[in-house]
Amino acid sequence: MSDLSPETVLRVDDLSIVYRTDRGDVRATNNVSFDLKRGEAMALIGESGSGKTTISLALIRKLPKNAVVTNGHILYQHKNKVQDVLGLSRRQLRGFRWNDCAMVFQGAQNAFNPVLKIRKQFEDTARAHGWTDKDAIRKRALSLLELVRLDPERVYESFPHELSGGMKQRTLLALGVLLNPQVVILDEPTTALDILTQRAIIDVLNDMQRQLLFSIIFISHDLSLAAEMADTVATVYAGEIVEIGGVDDIFYRSLHPYTYGLLTSVPTLDHAQDVLQSIPGSPPNLIAPPSGCKFHPRCSFASDQCQVEGPLLELGRETHLAACWHKDRLLASRKEVV
Amino acid sequence: MAGSPLLEALVSLPLDLLRGLVRFLRRLSTNKPGFVGFLGLLLYFFATFIMPGSVEFDNEPKLDQITGPIGSRIQLAVHRDNPQWDSLEALAGRTVGVVDQTGGPSFIEPYKEQFTVETYRWTSRRQGPGILAALTDLANQEIDALLIFSKTVSQVIDKQEDEELRGRFQDHILISNPSLGQPHLLGTDTQGRDIASHMVHGGQILILTALIGGVIGTLIALFFGSLSALVGGFIDKFFTALANLFLAIPQFILLVVLAGTIRFDSTLYLGVIIGFLIWPALLRAIRAQVLSLRERDFVEAARSLGLSMNHIIFREILPNMSSYVLINLIFSITIAMYFQIGLVVLGLAPISDYTWGVMIYFGRSRGTLYNQDGATMALAPVLAIALFQVCLVLFARAVEEVFDPRLRSAA
C-alpha cells in the first residue's frame, strides 16, 4: 500500500462494484485501476450507462444502497498519509467528503437547498468540517465566488432560486473548492447548460485549477470538453477501463476501436471529419455481459479470439494502455484515413 | 351466422371479467395490507348482506336478560327463603332493588307501578358500598329481590373480605335463576335482545347508505369535474368557484343543521343528501387529474391523430382514470360513513332502521355505554364500524399503490 509515489493523490486498485437488483446482479464496474496525480486532470469518457458515474460515486462512497464493492481498494494520499477510502469509518468518511474529495454533481439546478441562502449553505459545509470563524468562511467564500466570476456579495446573500442555471453551476464549483480539496470530481459539469455558459464554466475551471492546484476527475460524454480540459483520458466501456493514456495519445492515436468509434461519432472543432459514424449496436447488458471482449459484438475488428478471450489492459506505447487484441490493425487502418 | 358475434360476446364477456378479476386479485395480493382489507370487505359483505337471510333479527324484548356482559345474563337475586320468586311476575307487589348504574333501572321502567323500587348507587370502583348495602338489605329481607348481573354479584359475594358478611350473603342469598334463557354471543341489550343478531342486521343499510352517498358524490364530481377540465373557460371557472364556495361551508355542520331542521325519514334518503354534500373536494381532485391527463403525451398524440373528443374522453382519459376514480370513490364512501353515523350518534338521523349507528345511539342514551357490563351493546357496533372503515382505507391504499400509474412510475 505504501508503494504510492509521492505525487499520486488517488489510486483506484482493481475496483469491482455490483448492483444487486431483482433481475440479477449488474456488474457496473469490473477490475478498474488507475492513478491520479497531484494537479492532474483526468477525463472518464464513455456512453451513458458505461459505469463512469459508478466509479466516481465510489470515490466518495456515495453509491446507491443496492451497490456492493466486491473487490479492490481506493487509496488516498495526503501529507504522506495513505488511507483506504473504502475502509473509512462513518466519521472519517464524513471528514473525507468535500474536505479531501469534493464532487460537483450534474444538474446543479437542484444542488442547493431551496430554503437556505447560499451563505448558509457555505457556512454549513465549512462548519461541518471544523471551521468556526464566520468571517473567515465569508472571506474564503467571497474570494471563490469572485474566482468563478460572480458578483460575490450579491450571490452570497441570495436564495438559490434567485440565481440562473449557469450561476448555480458556478456557485457549486466555488462551493466544491471551498475546503481546498485535493480531488474534485466533476460529473457532467456542463451538460444542462447552453453553449455560452458551458464555455464560461470551462474557462473558470481552467483558471481555478491553475490557482488552486487540485486534481480533477472529470466525467463527460462531451469529448471536446475532455480534449480541452484533461491531461489524461480513460475510456470506460461496460464497466471496464478499455483505454487510458495522455490526451493527445487518445485523441490522435487511439488504440481501442471503441474510443475510436466515440471519436468518429462526434463532430469536433479540433480535428475536422468528413464522415460521422455512429457505433453500431447498443451498450451491453451488464447482468449477462458478452463473453470475451465485451465490445466484440459491436466491433468491426472483432475476430474469433475476441469472442473467447477478454484482452487485458496492456501497454501500447509509453504511458498509453489499451485492452484490445487488434491495436495494430486499428492503428494501421487509421493511418490510411488520416 | 348472424347471431354468432353476439353469442361470442356473451361467452367472452364473463370470461374477460373473470380474467380481469383474477388479474386484479393477483396484483392486489402483492400488497399484504390491501389484500387483508379486501378480504375484510368481502367478509363484511357476507356478514351484512348474506347472513341476515339465515339469522333472525331478535326483536322480542326479554325482560329477564338485559344488557349482560358477553355470554352472561342478567339475573335476579332473591332470599333463600323465597325461591319461588323466580320471575318478575311472581314479584308483583314486592320491593325490588336495582343498582342504578346497571341495566336494572331501564329494565324495570315499564314495571315501576307493580313494584316498590329501591335504588342503590354503585359508588366505588368495583365493590362499592352501594352494592354491599343492597346485598345486605337483601340478606336482611329488607328488600325482596335484587336485579343485577349475576357474574358481578357472585364476584362481590365470593370475594368479600369481611367473613361474617360473606357468610351471611352465602347463607341467605340465592342468585341463580335456572329459568333464564341461553347465553348470547355478544350479550343482550337494554331490552334483553340478542346483540349478535342486531350486528348481523345492522350493517346493510349503513353500508348501502354510504355507498349511495359515495357513488352520487363521485358521479357528480366525475361529471362536472371532467366537464370543467375538458371544456374550460366559463364553465370551468363557474364550477371551480362553486366548489370553492361549498368547501368554505363546513359540510358536516351543514348536514347537522339540515338534519336538525328537516328531519329525514329514511336512511337511504340521507345517503342521497350526503352525496350532494361531499362532491366539492372530489370535483377539484378529479378536475386536476383530468387536466394533467389532458396534457399527457398519449392524449396529445390521439388529438394530433385527429381522433374525436368522444374517443379521447372514453378511450384515452377515462380508462386511465379508473383507478383514480375508484380510490376517490372508496374515500368518499368512508366520508359518507363518517357523516351518517355522526348524525345517528347525535340522534339527528332516523332511528327507525336498527343500524349499528342506532345501537350506539341507544347505548349512549340508555346509559349502557357507561356500564362496565353492558358496554358490548355499544362496543360491538363501534368496533364493526371502525374495522369496516379500516378495511376500506387499506383497500384504497392498496389500489393506489398497485394500480395508480402515477405512483407506480414514481416508485
Partner: protein
C-alpha cells in the same frame, strides 16, 4: 462578454445596462403579481363569506317554512298574543327591522354582522349570540388547537423515519397504524376511549370529566383551575390527536420521500454535513413546508368536525353549543355558529395563502405556489 456579470433575478440596485433594465421590469411585474395575488385571495375570501351570509339570510327569512315564520307560529299558539307582537319579538331576536323592506333588512343585517352583532338567542332571551359564542369557542379552539399541534409534531417525527426506512417493518407498522388513524372516525375513537380504558378498565371516571372544568372553580389564572381544565380537555385532545395523526404521518412520509430524491440532499451528504444537519435543515425543513399549508387549512375543518366528539365527551365547546342549539331550535345561535365556522374556514385558507411565502423563499418573489 461571455463572462459578464449576469444580474440577479431580484435586483434592487440596478445599473443602467440593457439586461438590468429587463430585470427591473421583470421585478416590477412580479411585484405587481404579488400584490395582485394578495388582493385576489383577500377578495375571494370576502366574496365567499358574503355569499354564505347572503345564503343564510335567504334561508332563514325568505324560504317557505323559514325559522322566522315557524317561531312566530309557535309563539302564537303558545301564548295567544297578536301576530304583530309575536313577529316583533322574533324579529328582535334576529335583528330584523320589521317595518323595512326585505332589501333594507338585508343591508341592515349585513351591517350588523360587520359589527359582529349576530342577534339575540331565542331560547335564552337577553343573551347575545356573540356572547354565547365567545363563551364556548375558546374551549374548542383550545382543544382542537392542541390536538392539531400535537398530532402535527408527532406526525412529522413519525413520518420521516417511515420515508427513510421505506419498506421496513417500522414503515409497515406505522403505515398500518395510520390506516387505523385515518379510517376510524374521530367520534368512534372517542367512543372506544370511553368504553375500553374508561368503562372496562376504569382508568378514569368519565362522568367526572364532563364539561370544561370542575364545577365550583372560578376561571382564572390559578393552578387548580388550569389543572382542572387540562384534565377535562385531555380526552378530547387525545381523540383529536389519534384521529388526525395518521394523515400527518402519511403526508410527511410522501413529502419526505420526494425530498429524499432531490439532488440537494444527495449533495448535502456528499458535502460531509453532519447527519443531524441534513435531516433537520435539508430534508425535514423542505419536507415539512407543504404540511404547514395543510395545517393552516385544516384548522377550520377540524373546528367543525369536533361536534360529535364534544357531544360524546360532553365537552362544552362550540360543537356542543351548536348541538344544543339544534335540539332546542335556537335558530339565531345556529346561524351565528355556522357563520362563525364558515368564517374560520375561509380565514384559515386565507391565512395559509398569505403565510406560505414567509416559509418558502421561492414564493416570496413570485407570489405563486
Amino acid at each position: 462578454m461571455l463572462n459578464d456579470q449576469q444580474p440577479l433575478a431580484t435586483n434592487r440596485q440596478l445599473p443602467a445596462t440593457n439586461m438590468s433594465l429587463m430585470a427591473a421590469q421583470l421585478y416590477d411585474s412580479l411585484l405587481k403579481i404579488y400584490r395582485n395575488y394578495t388582493v385576489r385571495v383577500f377578495l375571494q375570501a370576502i366574496i365567499t363569506i358574503w355569499a354564505v351570509m347572503t345564503l343564510t339570510f335567504v334561508l332563514v327569512r325568505l324560504m317557505p317554512g323559514n325559522p322566522v315564520d315557524v317561531l312566530v307560529e309557535q309563539i302564537l299558539t303558545n301564548e295567544g298574543i297578536s301576530y304583530q307582537e309575536a313577529y316583533e319579538r322574533v324579529a328582535a331576536s334576529f335583528n330584523i327591522d320589521s317595518d323595512a323592506t326585505p332589501l333594507d333588512q338585508y343591508f341592515q343585517w349585513l351591517g350588523d354582522l360587520l359589527r359582529l352583532d349576530l342577534g339575540i338567542s331565542i331560547t335564552s332571551p337577553g343573551t347575545k349570540v356573540i356572547d354565547e359564542i365567545a363563551r364556548f369557542l375558546p374551549w374548542t379552539v383550545f382543544a382542537v388547537g392542541s390536538g392539531l399541534l400535537i398530532s402535527f409534531v408527532l406526525g412529522i417525527f413519525a413520518g420521516m423515519p417511515m420515508a427513510y426506512y421505506r419498506g421496513s417493518k417500522l414503515d409497515h407498522i406505522l403505515s398500518f397504524f395510520s390506516s387505523f388513524s385515518t379510517g376510524v372516525p374521530n367520534y368512534i375513537w372517542g367512543l372506544l376511549i370511553i368504553i375500553v380504558p374508561g368503562i372496562a378498565w376504569r382508568w378514569f371516571d368519565i362522568g367526572a370529566l364532563r364539561g370544561t372544568y370542575d364545577a365550583g372553580l372560578t376561571p382564572g389564572l390559578n393552578a387548580e383551575f388550569i389543572l382542572s381544565a387540562l384534565e377535562h380537555a385531555a380526552l378530547p385532545v387525545f381523540t383529536y390527536v389519534i384521529a388526525i395523526l395518521g394523515t400527518w404521518m402519511l403526508s410527511m412520509k410522501s413529502s419526505t420521500t420526494g425530498v429524499l430524491n432531490e439532488d440537494y440532499v444527495n449533495v448535502a451528504e456528499a458535502r460531509g454535513l453532519k447527519e443531524r444537519t441534513v435531516i433537520s435543515s435539508y430534508v425535514g425543513r423542505n419536507a415539512a413546508l407543504p404540511l404547514f399549508t395543510q395545517l393552516t387549512i385544516s384548522i377550520g375543518f377540524v373546528l367543525s368536525s369536533g361536534v360529535v366528539v364534544e357531544e360524546i365527551f360532553v365537552y362544552w365547546g362550540i360543537g356542543h353549543h351548536l348541538f344544543q342549539s339544534i335540539t332546542v331550535r335556537d335558530y339565531t345561535s345556529l346561524q351565528g355558529v355556522v357563520l362563525l365556522l364558515t368564517a374560520a374556514i375561509v380565514f384559515s385558507n386565507l391565512f395559509a395563502d398569505l403565510t406560505y411565502g414567509l416559509l418558502d423563499p421561492r414564493v416570496r418573489v413570485s407570489g405563486e405556489k
